[in-house]
């Protein structure tokens, strides 16, 4: 039953994305200053928000896992981080395509872009680090602490456009500027795509979480079998 719901949510998010694509390509007009390329923002902005939400969940789950020694929370942290990192790369790629067309360059080293890159690097380091620690207890402690550290770069990345004068455009959404910087139809479209992304993200995180849980069970069984074998040999 749970599988069917999961599959349903995944299919719904796919359909929703297709429907959004139709609206943004056929219904919404070109933007006055940027022309048609502005549509990539409907993917760029939601993918960054999705990844920030993922990293927030990962940070909170890591904090909980090291405070309460909870392995499920640790699995959730790794699942959310992996999915979040995928959305980070979507955000980076769409941003770079947009920059090439609007600015004429793929990349510039302003505070926002630099921090986005740093964020991707720190979470990639987290995933690398996990693979190197065989002991599950130590893995949870050490990588959990690292995940909490990494969240600092997410906060800086989010606030970078307020703290520094960046080439990256400033805030446009109404909840940060108080309105007037974006057409309501376009803003609505951004939120709709965010919703579709979040549905997709939910499905991916859940699938990844179950994989991680099975992996942990397998690891435990292997350990048990190994111990029994040793006892049999010694005894």
């Amino acid at each position: 039953m749970f599988d069917k719901i999961l599959f349903g949510v995944g299919a719904a998010s796919g359909l929703y994305l297709v429907r959004n694509l139709y609206t943004m390509l056929m219904v919404l007009p070109d933007e006055a200053a940027q022309g048609m390329i502005y549509r990539i923002m409907f993917f760029h902005i939601p993918s960054w928000w999705t990844c920030f939400i993922c990293f927030f969940i990962a940070g909170a789950a890591s904090g909980y896992s090291i405070a309460k020694k909870n392995f499920r929370a640790d699995s959730l942290a790794v699942a959310a981080t992996e999915v979040g990192l995928a959305f980070t790369f979507v955000g980076l790629a769409t941003g770079m395509i947009w920059a090439k067309i609007i600015w004429g360059i793929w990349w510039t080293w302003d505070a926002r872009l630099t921090w986005a890159f740093i964020t991707a690097l720190t979470y990639a380091a987290y995933l690398m680090m996990r693979n190197m620690i065989p002991d599950p207890n130590e893995r949870m402690r050490v990588s959990g602490a690292l995940n909490v550290f990494s969240f600092a770069s997410v906060v800086i990345c989010y606030k970078a456009i307020d703290w520094w004068r960046t080439q990256h455009p400033g805030a446009v959404m109404s909840f940060r500027t108080g309105g007037g910087n974006i057409d309501p139809a376009m803003e609505g479209m951004t939120y709709q795509n965010l919703f579709a992304f979040l549905m997709l993200c939910l499905v991916l995180v859940t699938v990844r979480l179950r994989q991680e849980e099975s992996l942990r069970t397998l690891e435990g069984m292997r350990r048990l079998a190994f111990t029994r074998q040793r006892i049999a040999v010694l005894g």
């Binding site: 050490v142 602490a145 600092a152």
Partner: protein, 224 residues
């Protein structure tokens, strides 16, 4: 707690000065890289003034990692780390003591490299000695505290020499960027004023945030 940190600090400093392996290696590495710089660009050009800070702090970050990497590895022989952890020294004191020791080592490397750099590339680094000292202290503390905390995370890994820089460098970019900018100004003889002071604030803020975070999390990292 501070007294215990002081004891750990003295122990680490004494151990390092008896063996001098990390310090010597790091110094030798720093000097070799200083000489390598002269092949990367024209050492007599004026251009080098503009990249002084960048060169120096990349160098200090690299040699600093060599130093902080040793601080927990040193305790692995005879299971000294386990003994330290079951003793009544709290993990945060251990981290603080080790960080202070690492700070001293990094400052020593800087004390050797800065005059050598001044002489080799004809840039007087010591026009504003107090500012230089301040920036060195703050940025070296940033490398030391985060480096030591991450060294505690990676101490049991097989690939720790590789993993420590991979984790550490992205994290300390803000501190390094601030130190690079301020060092550039200091090398040009300009006292940081007005807008430049934001970099000093960034350095101080970075140190406060990550020192608190490291001291808070070290119990989780080291002790189960």
């Amino acid at each position: 707690m501070l007294r215990m940190s002081w004891t750990i600090f003295l122990k680490d400093v004494r151990m390092e000065f008896r063996g001098k392996e990390a310090l010597n290696a790091s110094l030798a590495f720093a000097l070799v890289v200083l000489i390598l710089f002269s092949f990367a660009f024209d050492p007599t050009s004026e251009q080098i003034r503009e990249i002084t800070g960048g060169l120096l702090w990349i160098l200090f970050a690299f040699s600093g990692v060599l130093l902080v990497n040793r601080s927990f590895v040193r305790e692995q022989s005879n299971d000294c780390l386990d003994v330290l952890l079951v003793s009544k020294v709290p993990a945060s004191s251990l981290l603080l003591g080790k960080t202070m020791a690492n700070l001293v080592f990094i400052l020593l490397v800087e004390a050797v490299c800065l005059p050598v750099f001044s002489v080799l590339y004809n840039i007087s680094m010591f026009q504003l000695p107090l500012w230089l000292l301040g920036v060195c202290l703050l940025a070296s503390w940033a490398i030391a505290i985060l480096g030591t905390a991450f060294a505690a995370m990676t101490v049991n890994l097989r690939l720790r020499e590789l993993m420590l820089p991979v984790m550490l460098y992205p994290m300390i970019i803000p501190a390094l960027a601030a130190a690079m900018y301020l060092t550039n100004n200091i090398a040009a003889g300009k006292v940081p004023v007005g807008d430049d002071l934001i970099w000093v604030r960034l350095l101080v803020g970075f140190n406060v945030i990550f020192t608190t975070l490291s001291l808070g999390l070290i119990d989780t990292i080291l002790v189960d």
